[in-house]
Every structure is written in structure tokens, then in C-alpha cells.
């Protein structure tokens, strides 16, 4: 379960404080496919970053699977992320010098596994996303959709219970985007991972179980998706 209680976040711009999130409280049950929707600048990506543990709120608590991550030190948060969060970025964020297989195996470098085991797990993850025929290709040799599939595989490979996806279809054409959303649905249904997705696309959001609308740093209303 992901529970946010009175979470606020603001940024300093010179002497001015710019509020981004104001007293956000919400619960995301384990295994849910959760979409945060809203226009650009509404604070949805900021909320996602807080849930993903790559930013700290100014006030409030964030408890994920009984761990209050706002209490963790920076190094503690780093270790926590390695075990608990899988990231999918809008622009894939694959390392250009590594092959697809190496990119997927990258998070496994943090685990005490043999090279053989890491390779096996990475291959398994790539098989789940249907890219076994591209394992030795570098990101520059893959299409956008394929790169995002690799990113999904990377998010899956560590068995992290929560996957955060920031505009996963934002840089893809309609067809590739639909494939990725399909994949995320399968990941949620078949592997029981909690997915928190940020999108401004209603069609993408409709794939989620629960949709939360954001407007100017505040939650508006929730609705159900088609999933």
C-alpha cells in the first residue's frame, strides 16, 4: 500500500516560494494500476517523484509497504529505491553504450548475484516484453516503442513491488503507445505490481484501474478506468 498524508512540496525561485503540491493525502492499494492525470504544471510528476523516492516533500509523510520513506536518509532512500521501485521514464533513459540486455541487467548489479544469474533474469524480463530478438542491440538501434519495452523490462527485472511510470507513452506514436499500455496492464494483472502512472492523455489513463485528476497541485476527483 502507498499512503500519502498531508504531503506538500514547493520550490524556491529566488525569494519566492512556488507551491507545487498542497496537502495531498491519498491511498493506493497494493496491486493497483493508478493513473495521475492533469495538465502540464499541475504537480503530477512531482507527486510521482515523491512516491518514487527521488525527491523529498516539504511536509507530510509517505508510507510505502509500511516504510515511511520521508524518514529515510539519502543513502537509505537510495537502497530502498533499488529494492522497491522500478522506473519507467518518458524518454526511456536507457544508457546508450549498453545493449538492451545490459540495460535491463543494470539494476541487478546492485544485488549479490552471479553474472550468469543476472543474465538469466534479464533475459527473462526481456522475454516478458517480447524483445528476445533484440537483446544485443543498443538503444540507438531500437525504435521508440522497443526502447520503452526495454525500460519496462528494466523496471520488472528486480521484482520491485511498485513501478512508477512518468508519461510512458509521451514520446511514442499511437500504436507503440498502445502496446506499452497493454504491456503495463499485463504487468499489473499477471505479476501483481502496483503501477503509478502519470499521463496527460485520457486514453492512456483509461487503461488504469483508478484515475486521479490533478489541478494546480491539488487532487480534484477520482474515477475508474477501463482496466
Amino acid at each position: 500500500m502507498i499512503q500519502l498524508t498531508n504531503v506538500s512540496k514547493s520550490y524556491n525561485r529566488g525569494d519566492t516560494k512556488v507551491p507545487v503540491l498542497e496537502n495531498i493525502s491519498l491511498k493506493i492499494p497494493s496491486g493497483d494500476f493508478f493513473a495521475l492525470m492533469g495538465p502540464s504544471g499541475s504537480g503530477k510528476s512531482t507527486l510521482l517523484n515523491l512516491i518514487g523516492g527521488i525527491d523529498y516533500p516539504n511536509t507530510g509523510t509517505i508510507v510505502i509497504n509500511s516504510i515511511d520513506i520521508t524518514e529515510l536518509s539519502e543513502s537509505g532512500l537510495t537502497s530502498w529505491r533499488a529494492e522497491n521501485i522500478g522506473f519507467i521514464f518518458q524518454f526511456y533513459n536507457l544508457l546508450p553504450v549498453l545493449t538492451a540486455l545490459e540495460n535491463v541487467a543494470l539494476p541487478l548489479q546492485l544485488k549479490p548475484l552471479s553474472q550468469k544469474k543476472r543474465k538469466a533474469l534479464a533475459l527473462n524480463a526481456l522475454e516478458k516484453v517480447g524483445l528476445l530478438d533484440r537483446i544485443n542491440h543498443k538503444p540507438g538501434e531500437l525504435s521508440g516503442g522497443q526502447q520503452q519495452r526495454v525500460a519496462v523490462a528494466r523496471a520488472l527485472v528486480t521484482d520491485a513491488p511498485v513501478i512508477v511510470a512518468d508519461e510512458p507513452t509521451g514520446d511514442l506514436d499511437r500504436e507503440s503507445g498502445a502496446e506499452i499500455l497493454e504491456l503495463l496492464g499485463e504487468v499489473n494483472n499477471n505479476f501483481g505490481r502496483t503501477i503509478v502512472m502519470v499521463t496527460h492523455d485520457p486514453k492512456a489513463a483509461s487503461k488504469a484501474n483508478t484515475i486521479l485528476n490533478f489541478e494546480k497541485g491539488r487532487l480534484e476527483e477520482s474515477s475508474s478506468g477501463d482496466n
Binding site: N49, G52, I54, D55, S75, T78, S79, R81, A82, E83, I85, F87, F89, F91, N93, L95, L106, P107, Q109, L110, R154
Partner: protein, 364 residues
Amino acid sequence: MVGVAVAILSFGLLSTVVDSWYAGAEGASSARLIVRSSVSLMFPLPMTYKNKINRVDGVEDVSWARWFGGVYKEPKNFFPQFAIDPKSYLRIYPEYIVSDDQKENFFNDRRSTLIGRKIAEEHGLKVGDLMPLQGQIFPGTWDFVVGGIYDGKNSGTDTAQMFFHWDYLNEEIKKRKISRDLESVGVFIVEVNDVKKVGPISQDIDELFKNSRKETYTETEKAFQLGFVAMTEAIVVAIRLVSYVVIVIIMLVMANTMVMTSKERMWEYATMRSLGFDRNFLNKVIFFESLFLSGIGGFTGIVLTFPAATLFRSYTGTLFPVFEISLATISTQICFLLLIGLVASLFPAWKASNGKIVTALRAA
């Protein structure tokens, strides 16, 4: 990498030039004394001083030499030429290795010359060849026959010198009526029997000729050689300074390159931090990347220093008689390439591991 290679190569070459400047002093002995005029090396000493010096307590052997300063074919073919007493000189300088038969040639023919291997190779000379010199201090043409070629006992021995008979010079000064001091030497070379007593022996020798018309100044051979270096020390200091400046410049250039490269890769570092890689890991990645680049460049520079030194030596001829790349130079080159790698990585590593993840991701 190319910049690092060039910088390390330049440092190695310049360091070797500085080392060769001091080579004469390095190869000099602390057990040999040089007795010269207390006024200036330009003023010769009477030969009659020899026997008095020989009688000083602690003196094992005495030889002498006089600077000739002639020109072989053309002025750019510079090498030292000394008129010596062959037998005593070669006794006192056992580091000049000559075969017995060539030694006999040299001893027995007063017009013969003993030349170092470097001169022989530089000018294609062999035993029996005629070697005419144009005198500058002692005017006229001076014909010598190569009686022998000497090698150095070790790599630091100067084999770019020419020796001939002092007796021959002395006779010719008389015959040709050259207005230079007769029966005179430039320096006496004294071998002592106890290196710990060089101080007192030097004082005793100088005391012999105190208040005479030609007072002496006696010092160890090493001090004598260092005196020459001191005359041109400003140049040596300048060369050394330039060699270090080159390293500092390339360090800054490489640091700048690493900063620019890491700026473009901030999103990669932020992604890795998102995935769970901590600051220490990132610091190590950036450091080892920097070290790898400086290592490849640096080792290339070190390897290229050797052919560069050979080329330099071929162009400078006998100007630097001893021109060897020392272990100290190579060690310093290695230290510098490590330092370059470290310094170049400092700011990028700090930026990558201390910057905000979300800011770096946004920049992508």
C-alpha cells in the same frame, strides 16, 4: 587523450633535457678533486705545481688537462677537446673503457687522439682516420690521427669528448710561437685515497699556493661540474617550469573536457541514482573513466617519449652527451597521469553525486 599523451611526452622530454644538464655532475666523482686558478678557469696553472700537489698527504694520483676549444669541420660540431697526460688521465678515469691495443696506439703516438664512441658514431670516424681541427684558442690547423675510441663504463659516462697529448700541444705552442702560456695546464685532476678527507686535502693544496702569483681553488669534481650547471641554472629552471606548466595546462583542459562530458551525461547519472546506485558508485565510475582516459593517453605519451628522445638526440648530436630517460622521469610521468585522471574527475563526480536527481532528469 591525445592532449594527455602530448603533455606527458613533453614533460618526459623536457625532464630528460634537465637531467642531461646535470648528467656531468651526476657522473662526477666525489673522490676526485679539480685544482684550478682561483681567479678564473680561463687562467692556466703552471705545470710545476704538479709535483707539489703530488706530495700533499692523501693525494693518490695527479693528472692534468687543458681545454683546446677547436672546431672539427664546422662550428656546429661542438664537442669538448682536452690536451691531457694520457697515462695518468686514464688511470684516474677508469670509467673510460679502451681496448689495450688502442690504448697503446694512443700512448705511443703523440699526434694521436682518443675520441668517445658518440663522436666516432656521429662523424663516422674509426681508428686510423685523420681528424683535423681548426684551433680557436690555439690558432692554426691541428691534425690528429684517431688512435682509439673509448666507451663509457655506464650509461651516464660522457662519450662525447676528445683527448690528445698535452705534450704535443705544449711543443706546438713553442714551435708555432702561439702567444699562450707555455708549460701550463687548465686544471689538475687529483685522486685522493680517502673520500672522507677531500675537504682537508683541498685546503692543503690551496694552502701550498696561497699568496703565490697563481693561487689555486680546489674542489671536488662534482662541485666543479655543478658550478657549470649553476651558470646556466636560469635556463634549467625555466625548462623545468615549462615542463610542469604543460602538465597543469593539460590537467585543466582534461578537467574541462570531463566537466563538459559529464554535463551531457547528467541524465545518465541521475537515472543510475534513480535505479539505486549510490554516490560512491557514481564517484568511482567517473573517477575510473577519467583515469582510463588519462591512462591511455599517459601511457601512450610515456611510450612515445623513447623514440622522441632518440630523435632529439640525433638532432642535437653531442650537445647532450648523456641523454637517457631516467626511471625517476618515467615514475613522475606515471604519477602525473594518475593526478590528471584524479583532478579531472573531481568536479564532475561532485556535481553528479550531489546534484538533484529530478533536476538532472528534467534536463534530459
